[in-house]
Symmetry: C2
Subunit: 296 residues, 2 copies
């Protein structure tokens, strides 16, 4: 059975009963698993993680709009996190038995449906967007809900679906498709923060490094070591092992060793299998050979 992960971010993190009603609406959809949801009061925002096939995930997202459009009012909303609308961001992520193309198609299908049904304008983003100026979430969200009417009226900011002005209370949504993120940190056996910062600058995309790496250098003061903290945004094209080897090599140049690395949160099995294949120099391996995959 194909599995798509979906991680809707909604602009409500202070009223637990409203958040719980949305969770219930998701759980009521057959074929959908609500894996996690968490709320942040200072951000005034909640993040849901759900999974299922395309039809089930679509039904769950539509059910979320049904709740949110009725009970959120962005004109009354404040919080630390930038946001454009009630259902602020909806990424679809291919996990198993689906392609990125499937997730792009689903993003467009859901965008069209919610625009038509609720009158909410939708911007496509990341892989679902063909416009290079409208791929990056931060670019689309700049100006936030308060600046949205002006932005939508300006050149190049007509939405991909729905009306050409914001929904009065629900603003606009950003819907798209992306690869799973991997939060990956490498701790260095030194307290020299400058080394972590230089390595982060060398390997991240913005500094001329790998295409799908975001990185920053931090001090772990309580442990007396420093960390290169990363987000890997496409583990197929910029795999973990290549990033690890690059960090190790850069650290050597400063006379520093890698102490350890850590994977924060979830990681797709394929990303770890690629590491094993690389270091063992495995030829001709297929995921079909993993015993557990035969038992599904």
């Amino acid at each position: 059975m194909p599995i798509i992960e979906c991680i809707p971010n909604v602009s409500e993190g202070r009223r637990p009963e409203i958040v719980e009603a949305i969770a219930e609406a998701i759980r009521a959809i057959p074929g959908v698993r609500l894996l996690d949801h968490s709320s942040d009061a200072s951000h005034n925002r909640s993040v849901f993680t759900l999974a299922g096939d395309a039809a089930a995930v679509k039904a769950a997202v539509v059910a979320m709009y049904e709740q949110a459009v009725a009970s959120f009012d962005l004109r009354q909303h404040s919080g630390e996190h930038p946001r454009l609308g009630a259902i602020d961001v909806v990424p679809f992520v291919p996990i198993e038995g689906v392609t990125m193309g499937d997730c792009v198609a689903l993003a467009k299908d859901v965008a069209q449906e919610v625009a038509a049904r609720y009158g909410v304008p939708v911007y496509l983003y990341e892989e679902a967007s063909k416009n290079p100026l409208r791929k990056n979430l931060e670019d689309i969200r700049r100006g936030e809900f308060e600046g949205l009417a002006t932005k939508m009226a300006s050149e190049g900011w007509a939405p991909d679906f729905g009306p050409s002005a914001p929904h009065p209370s629900a603003g606009a949504s950003v819907i798209g498709a992306r690869m799973p993120l991997i939060a990956y940190n490498i701790n260095l056996a030194t307290d020299r923060l400058d080394v972590a910062k230089k390595i982060a600058a060398a390997i991240r995309h913005s500094g001329g490094g790998f295409r799908f790496v975001k990185a920053a250098g931090f001090e772990l003061k309580d442990r007396g070591v420093v960390q290169v903290s990363m987000n890997l945004t496409n583990y197929e094209k910029t795999p973990i092992f290549r990033v690890f080897e690059a960090v190790k090599r850069e650290a050597e140049r400063y006379g520093v060793q890698v102490l350890e690395s850590e994977i924060v949160g979830l990681v797709p099995a394929a990303a770890l299998n690629a590491v094993a294949e690389y270091y063992l120099q495995v030829a001709g391996f297929s995921a079909e050979q993993i015993l557990e995959n035969k038992l599904k």
Copy 2:
């Protein structure tokens, strides 16, 4: 749901209708998956691979005895492969949510049941056997069906369950528990067979090497290279990465490089994950962090 793999080897590989009847008997058991079965006419033997929880796998094995005791006669059986009985060997392998202890308990439970129900004597082997002289399958099977009556009458060879003499037509069975086997080969960028043989001798248990490695050196004539061919019989205690690194280091000593390695057939996910953890120096990783495991 807990998963135990079971790989019964039966002494019939020439009558497809009999083999198919056994396969059907397995498929008829609720909760059991028949993953594979294959027959070898020259060995006159068939191997079934099935999976399920303890109760389901037990029911399937009992159903196999029901068929085999009725339709096999070892007095008429010939083939290249050594064998002691109709249902010759039954290993139980812990895959997910079960311990080796669970598989040992299941082996004893099944052994008792088939001994009582069909009058077939059973020897426990590998992890299910406490007798160091009766852990190894080859030791138990030496003498084969034809020598079984004499062997059973001799000192130290009373069976663990069932009558003290062979079943007239079904002989005896060997039932036990073991870790999954990994068939793992490392190809060297040389045509020097002596190097592959020396490395195999250095790393295998019988030569003073790793406890859970069987190894031999071969020539791959068509490719002009040599291979260290291995069976890893306990990937938790003798992990793949340690064996790979040892072979690589030994090869260096002869001025030879590792060309590639290959995993033949199935490998448990945990064995590959351990490789990724080792090379990336990952601290504090848990299988719970693998996205696919959250989706089960």
